[in-house]
Symmetry: C2
Subunit: 117 residues, 2 copies
């Protein structure tokens, strides 16, 4: 069994490559696509696209199914949600930073008002 930290590492590693991100973005827009349709917009050859799909599959980000001679690729949102949840803590940090900034600005304003006669 792959543990939580290993899954996170695999997900982030899969997301490092811009071609893999473009594949995921397209699957998100279109719901699913054949391997040959996915390969079309890229300047890279089909075997290179297949390798990227292997990485995405190993990370659990896509699911491939074969009907006849056509391999269809679909998104699997689970691991991406785990990565999102991990990143969410920084959103909390960001909100706290903004809160502190607002509190600081308000205290300065109150001070300035007190100083005025």
């Amino acid at each position: 069994m792959v543990n939580y930290q290993e899954r996170l590492s695999r997900t982030f590693a899969a997301l490092v490559d811009p071609t893999r991100r473009a594949i995921l973005a397209r699957l998100e827009r279109e719901g699913g696509a054949s391997v040959s349709a996915l390969a079309e917009p890229f300047a890279i050859k089909l075997p290179a696209v297949m390798k990227h799909l292997d990485v995405l599959d190993d990370a659990g980000l896509i699911r491939r199914s074969k009907v006849g001679r056509t391999v269809t690729v679909e998104l699997r949102p689970g691991p991406v949600r785990e990565a999102m949840d991990w990143l969410r803590r920084y959103e909390r940090f960001w909100s706290r930073s903004l809160d502190r900034l607002t509190a600081y600005a308000e205290s300065k304003e109150t001070e300035a008002r007190k100083r005025k006669p």
Copy 2:
């Protein structure tokens, strides 16, 4: 200037390593820490920690400042927010999948009810 796609790649690459994620998580909890304090809980040597900090700094995820002989490390939330925004589309996909599932379940229920005398 580093463009958007390059920044995303750097951010995700920085997040692949569990030690770097642990450093970021600690900075998020504590707001800031000295390099030596950050290195303490890890079984790795200080130069290895420094290398991880270089990667985080290059990706724009942390800021280092030196006062006397102490280097303090702080989080910079900008690039993480960009990565979050990129991942958010999958949250939309996930919600749509759930919506479709709910709609399907409801239509089956209605069908079953119609069939009953």
